[in-house]
Amino acid sequence: MNLLSLTAVELGKKIHSKEVSVREAVEACCEQIEAVEPEIHSYVTTDREAALKKAEEIQKKIDQGELNGPLAGVPAAIKDNLCTKGWKTTCSSKILENFIPTYTAEAVGRLEEAGAVLLGKTNMDEFAMGSTTETSYFGVTKNPWNTKHVPGGSSGGSCAAVAAEECFYALGSDTGGSIRQPSSFCGVTGIKPTYGTVSRYGLIAYGSSLDQIGPVAKDVTDAAAILEVIASYDKKDSTSIRRRDTDFTSALKAEGKGLKIGIPKSYFGEGIETEVKTSVLHAAEVLKQQGAEVEEFDLGLVEYAIPAYYVIASAEASSNLARFDGVKYGYRTPDYEGLHDMYKKTRSEGFGAEVKRRIMLGSFVLSSGYYDAYYLKALRTKALIKQAFDEAFKTYDVILAPAAPTTAPKLGSSLNDPLKMYLGDIYTISANLAGLPGICVPCGKDKNGLPIGVQMLGNCFEEKKILQAAYTYEQTRTRERCDLAKKRDTAYGTEQKTIGEGAGR
């Protein structure tokens, strides 16, 4: 049996029933990492020894009955903007190349308490700024479905690692689509929860009012189980919300009836690839067949989302990233004369081009004399976008849309036209501006074999509705694995291959 083909929850069951040991699971992942990393480069940091040591600890706790959750013993990967005590946390930036935090992010801590074994830290766009994982200081991550293409971003490393079966699940962060878009490109399932659901404590901030941590998983069941663990009120995060409805796995029922699904017409106009459009609309059709009510509607203000987003996110980023100055931690330029020279050189040498572009953009829109025209206007736009969604959710339970207008672009084709890259965020950023939850699940492939994802947005605190819709849709399909992942199955012999396919569910 190829262990790696199992979902996180399936593996958790086998570990619980002693069919598989935690060590076996970790070793399988480590072998896969060794085998595919040269091609994919999902990880910035891995630590086999630490993982194996942790595996022993967790195994003991499982054996003693102290740990019995669905994720106990399941190996996971963490996006490298989440602080992990004792593990380098770089944000894929030179400026944090050697930064080892003294504390662990709340979300990661909760996973560890649930018995997760950390395998490593995943690659990302530098400080989560980018849509391709190409702005990483440590080199690009490649799409496991076709290594000539990007995995999307900024959580490209997390999504690629899950798709390439280098881990069973991962955590990502989503400021403008950074979980949903790479999930779409890599054929995995990702959730951006309602703002305030997962504590941001220990998440190295990009756009604080938009950032939200979420799961990247092999299927909807895994995603719900992970979210259930990481969602929590945390008094260390003032924007964290006390919720009593975080039993997300209870929403996993294949039932389309009663769901009212809206399709925003404007999301399917200019700029969307035909194959993406067809595939996403087909998913809507499937849900209709499952009993859901589906109709098109007009969602207003779509064209204002991108400018509003880039103003707000960049403004917050320009301030959030000010602390990286060479004084306290991280990179400091070797030669300087005086304080200001040190600041200037450290930051000029430590940050990449895209990060500098956004710091400059953000500093500009906050400058005196421009604040009202840009930042304040963007905040008002944000409020209006929220209103437009509030209006839509009066009628619909779920808004169904693509996660990106295209499938994964070729490596190197995006960064030379940043404006075009920014426009690619059109379907995802509104959810961040309005604080909404969104899920992306695979819904097909284009003619080049690259995955297409369908995005479902819900009203604030209504993750359960989108989970139900996504689960209902998922049940009509067979989970697809990339060739790179399947290649490994042969090493385990064909006899038990069918188990790994997970087709029987």
Binding site: L82, C83, T89, C91, L96, F99, P101, T102, Y103, A105, R200, Y201, G202, L203, I204, A205, G207, S208, S209, K235, K236, D237, S238, T239, A315, E316, S318, S319, A322, R323, F324, D325, V327, K328, Y329, L339, Y343, S363, L366, S367, S368, Y371, Y375, L379
Partner: protein
């Protein structure tokens, strides 16, 4: 001939709040400590750390606002002020710009009326002008020269408060000249501050000092801060401009920093007033700039002009949610406000029957009032307590150049001392000696008197013997007295007291001597 000028002054006062923990984390605010020991990821600006507001800071800030007649902004927010400096770990300070917690208040000050608005005509008298004003300021804080009637005659003036906002303090840079290197200590980083911004309502150093003393008294009464200028728990930046008397427009202002005492503030105001007038008289323009006062050289120099003024790129702090002070919460804060000076003063007059003058001085400092009330409660002799505070305590404070807030002795020991004198166990000379020990070391008077054998000798036999001896030893004085030189008895009493090592009642000695002679 120089024109007559008026000084226009507004103040920005920073006050460190006396919370146990910092404004956005649970680190201790305690002063001192090894560098970077009162720190955590939040107050050292580690990546991923988030601020959580300390409720006590809101309560103190609102209480100061209520005590200064401000309107409380029941839904207020924090903003980020962005600037790079190594003592500022995040390179932004969390402060309040758009919606500060308190607005539109005032503080009423009292002025003696003498030094108010005295335009200085002759630049040659700069020094005298400064001295006058400084002493004016001293008079207001000191006890000596103000009598009860003067207080009643005092002029009252309202100084407007534009706003009060909450913010975090920065860390401290330590420069090592030997290694040509700077270190940073974040122990102070995140200590809560309120900034009290006045309207430009003050016209003289005297008014500024009166305003600061009133503010300090209010805040000390609230227990919101100890307000020590020399330790930096109260810091004042002074905005000054001058204009011709009668002019309606304000002149160009400068902002003066690094003022560490009331005296420095008074000196800096006078010097800056003169500097600006000299510029105007010479036909030059005053430049809007920030200046740093050097109190030793009695001179200020420009730090930065308006042109290089930083653009702080303020924007709403996304890591904190708006603070909502509910009606109930506000009421609770109102209910918890202590008795302030005015109420205390009238209560003292009624309850303790001490003179207005004494009551005024004692209630002028929370610490004195606290000692007075506690000691009076213990010994039931408020007038005696008041005397000890007004005379000996004031004398020692002045001698030691201390502030009443620095007093460390316990009311219990003062009450004990009063009891010892009342019972005739020690005489007043010994009592003064013991009080000094209480003042400095807070000794237990009974124990101290016992250990040092300072009790009055009540055995008349010993006293009579001593007196006999003194009379024999000083025949000349005896003769002088008998000849009608009344003064001579004083010498004899002194000699007897000396021989008794102070442990006799001088009145009694005098009486016996007279009988003997």
């Amino acid at each position: 001939m120089r024109k007559e000028y008026e000084t226009v002054i507004g103040l920005e006062v920073h006050v460190e709040l006396a919370t146990k923990t910092k404004i956005f984390c649970s680190c201790s605010t305690e002063f001192g400590g090894e560098p970077n020991t009162h720190t955590c990821p939040v107050c050292t600006g580690m990546p991923g750390a988030l601020p959580v507001l300390n409720k006590q800071v809101v309560e103190y800030a609102a209480a100061v606002g209520l005590a200064t007649h401000c309107t409380i902004t029941q839904v207020h927010k924090f903003d980020r002020k962005n600037y790079f400096y190594p003592d500022n770990p995040q390179n932004y300070q969390i402060s309040q710009l758009y919606l500060p917690i308190c607005r539109d208040g005032y503080v009423e000050i009292e002025l003696s009326g003498e030094n108010d608005q005295k335009p200085e005509g002759n630049p040659g008298t700069e020094n005298t002008a400064r001295t006058e004003n400084t002493s004016g300021a001293e008079n207001n804080s000191g006890a000596e020269n103000i009598s009860g009637t003067e207080i009643d005659r005092a002029m009252r003036k309202k100084i407007g408060i534009h706003e009060i906002h909450m913010e975090e303090d920065a860390g401290k840079l330590v420069h090592d000249d030997w290694s040509d290197c700077s270190f940073v200590d974040y122990n102070r980083s995140g200590v809560p501050l309120i900034e009290i911004v006045s309207e430009p309502d003050m016209r003289s150093a005297e008014e500024v000092i009166a305003y600061l003393e009133k503010l300090r008294m209010i805040i000390q009464y609230l227990g919101a801060s100890d307000c020590k200028l020399n330790e930096g728990s109260m810091r004042a930046d002074v905005n000054i401009s001058v204009r011709e008397v009668g002019a309606e427009e304000f002149g160009t202002r400068t902002e003066m920093k690094n003022l560490n005492s009331f005296k420095a503030i008074a000196r800096a105001i006078e010097a800056e007033r003169e500097r600006q007038i000299d510029l105007i008289e010479a036909g030059e323009a005053v430049i809007q700039e920030t200046r740093r006062w050097d109190d030793e050289k009695e001179y200020s120099y420009a730090m930065r002009s308006k042109e290089d003024a930083k653009d702080y790129r303020y924007f709403p702090e996304p890591d904190l949610v708006p603070v909502v002070i509910s009606d109930e919460w506000l009421q609770k804060i109102k209910d918890s406000l202590p008795e302030f000076q005015t109420e205390k003063l009238s209560r003292y007059l009624k309850e303790y029957e001490i003179p207005l003058y004494d009551a005024k001085i004692i209630t002028g400092h929370k610490k004195l009032a606290d000692i007075f009330e506690a000691a009076s409660e213990l010994c039931k002799k408020p007038k005696k307590v008041s005397n000890w505070l007004m005379v000996e305590t004031m004398r020692l404070l002045k001698e030691e150049e201390m502030d009443p807030e620095d007093l460390t002795f316990s009311p219990k020991n003062l009450a004990g001392l009063i009891e010892l004198t009342e019972k005739g166990i020690i005489n007043s000379t010994v009592a003064k000696e013991v009080f000094e020990k209480i003042f400095h070391q807070d000794v237990d008077p009974e124990q101290y008197v016992e250990e040092h054998g300072l009790k009055m000798v009540t055995d008349d036999g010993v006293l009579l013997q001593t007196i006999e001896k003194i009379l024999q030893e000083n025949p000349k004085s005896v003769e002088d007295y008998r000849k009608g030189k009344e003064k001579a008895i004083g010498y004899l009493v002194g000699q007897t007291m000396k021989a008794m090592r102070g442990k006799a009642d001088p009145a009694k000695v005098s009486q016996i001597l007279k009988e003997k002679l």
